[in-house]
Amino acid sequence: MKRKILSPPVLLLLPAMIIIVAVILLPLLLSLYTSFTPFKLTRPDTFYRFIGLRNYERLFTDVYFWAAFGRTFVVLTIALNVEMMLGLGLALLVNRAIAGQRTLRTIMMFPMMFSPILVGFQFKFLFNDNIGLVNNALQSLGIAQAIPWLVDEYLALFAILTAEIWSSTSIFAILILAGLMAIPRDPIEAAKVDGCTVWQTFRHITLPYLMPFMFIAMTIRSLDIARAYDIVQIMTAGGPARRTELLWTLISRTGYVDANMGLANAMAYISIFLSIFFTWYFFRKLMAARRYMGGAQ
């Protein structure tokens, strides 16, 4: 009889484990290690020089890094809130449509069908100060001066946010619509009989039912925006003069353009905390909202 080295469960899971170790765990450990080295892509020998926490120490006093960090946080907050409000509005409107609701739903999802790169190009064109449609339209309304949409710090962030919101509001709308369609009719009718106005019914009954759906959308989108790269890279590339620098444009430039992979990885590990914070926060909210809604019927 052959001696059993591994028990069948371990044996069966082994291929999956090997793949996970190879494609996730190893790269993760490797990148973590490089964040403790001055690794430059152009000088392979630096890979073996261990410098401890020096990259991190340097980052904690790096104004540009923290500016990008803060900017990402602000963009994230604004985009999430605006997208949620607009998505909620859209979902409520589409939910009221008696005829053609399927068509409306499909149309609503159009922005999701475009690659973020293309959305970036499109909005870069729209907001171009010389030939862009926005300035063109403003000019025909009598505002003679060309507005430097993609140059001014706040206007550029506004333009980026507009593109981001345009392309992703439908994710909120679709998820909230799914929530609206799943609401049982009875509690809403009970609320009406109980004396609620339309607004009170929405506030006290509909909204609590929608909360889990909103938090799921928030979680997904917070991860999306925290890693925002493509639209920003295309529209402003973090510039001009770092005025629209977000975390990932900064990290990618540090890593690939400046070839400072060690430092870039250190930045990435710090920024992961931002994502983890948002995910943790929304998941906690989600769990709280779901506790009420689970098994109540």
Binding site: E189, A190, V193, D194, Q200, M293
Partner: protein, 361 residues
């Protein structure tokens, strides 16, 4: 005071009429049950009274107010739904007090009225629970409590017991009846279960196809059904029927050739030659040796096909005139399938229905 009046109330969905102009007066404090098979318009009627459905035509009055165009919140009615419709994110106390909170009542009053309702329904120990943590019967009680706290003019119940198991349903039925005796408010109650209707109602309204077939007290409807539909719908087991013709000799000749003598009273009312459906309830027939069917009885021989012992009585099934009949055997003994038995029909309690109009003669 809340008298509810329906005048020629119509509900139309596009070209389809679901409720065909019904008239109904409900007195203050009365317990009225709308009963009928599914799709008869009873729930729609109730929802029109609640204000959850528009009224296509006609008038609904609560008290002396026409409420046709009032939203539900201005009608001062409470409704208990089949699926309880509790607010899942509020605990029992919040569920009970929600309508008062919405109406901006002072906190003290809310607490006091919630406590009062909880006391009536025995919910005191459950106040902090969420609906998801309650059993079906408890949820139903919370739903009723939510209706009580508002001191409404009218209670509306939409099949409130259909989701409960048989034992709980019987128990809650009793509680609803007791509740009505305590609060003495007008109740309109919809059900498809005729036993629920019989036990609860002061007055029953039998509906079919969007029309009212008969209105009356349960006993009145049971003993004097207006037509064949009501006769079959009310009573369990359903009334036994046989086709036949009334003859000159004051008898009814059934399809199988058997002639049964009619009472003088009945023969006087129904002209000879009328095609009829004869109906008799399972309890108006007595097996030989198991009681007395009265002076006007007539004997028929049958072959039992099945017997269902219920303890105090057995239901014996047999074929008669091409239909399945069922008869109660009081003080029962075991009956084998295929056994021949004699049955006495109490002809005094036989109903005749016109075969074409289905109206009772």
């Amino acid at each position: 005071m809340a008298v509810v009046t329906l005048e020629k109330v119509v509900k139309r969905y596009g070209p389809l009429d679901v409720v065909h102009g019904i008239d109904l007066d409900i007195a203050h404090g009365e317990f009225v049950v709308l009963v009928g098979p599914s799709g008869c318009g009873k729930s729609t009627t109730l929802r029109m009274i609640a204000g959850l459905e528009d009224i296509s035509d006609g008038t609904i009055r609560i008290g002396d107010r026409v409420v046709n165009d009032l939203p539900p919140r201005d009608r001062n009615v409470s409704m208990v739904f089949q699926n309880y419709a509790l607010y899942p994110h509020m605990n029992v106390a919040e569920n009970l007090g929600f309508s008062l909170k919405i109406a901006n009542r002072p906190k003290d009053e809310i607490t006091q009225r919630v406590a009062e309702a909880a006391g009536i329904l025995g919910l005191d120990d459950l106040m902090d629970r969420l609906p998801g943590q309650l059993s079906g019967g408890q949820r139903q009680r919370v739903a009723m409590g939510r209706a009580i706290v508002r001191h409404p003019d009218v209670f509306l119940f939409d099949e409130p017991l259909s989701n409960l198991d048989a034992k709980l349903r019987t128990q809650m039925r009793t509680e609803i009846k007791k509740l009505h005796q305590k609060v003495k408010t007008t109740v309109i109650y919809v059900t498809h279960d005729q036993i629920e209707a019989m036990t609860l109602a002061d007055r029953m309204v039998i509906m079919r196809g969007g029309q009212i077939e008969q209105v009356g007290s349960p006993m009145d409807i049971f003993h004097n059904p207006a037509n064949l539909f009501v006769a079959q719908f009310i009573g369990s087991p359903p009334m036994n029927l046989a086709d036949g013709v009334v003859t000159d000799a004051k008898t009814v000749r059934l399809e199988n050739g058997m002639e049964l003598p009619l009472t003088a009273d009945m023969a006087g009312r129904v002209a000879a030659g009328t095609a009829v459906v004869m109906g008799i309830r399972a309890e108006e027939m007595v097996f030989e040796g198991h009681g007395d069917a009265g002076a006007q009885s007539t004997r028929v021989d049958i072959t039992a096909s099945l017997s269902e012992p219920l303890g105090n009585e057995s239901l014996v099934f047999f074929e008669f005139c091409g239909r399945e009949w069922v008869c109660r055997m009081f003080d029962p003994r075991p009956v084998e399938p295929g056994e021949s038995l004699g049955v006495h029909l109490n002809m005094d309690r036989v109903h005749l229905f016109d075969k074409t109009t289905e109206i009772r003669l």
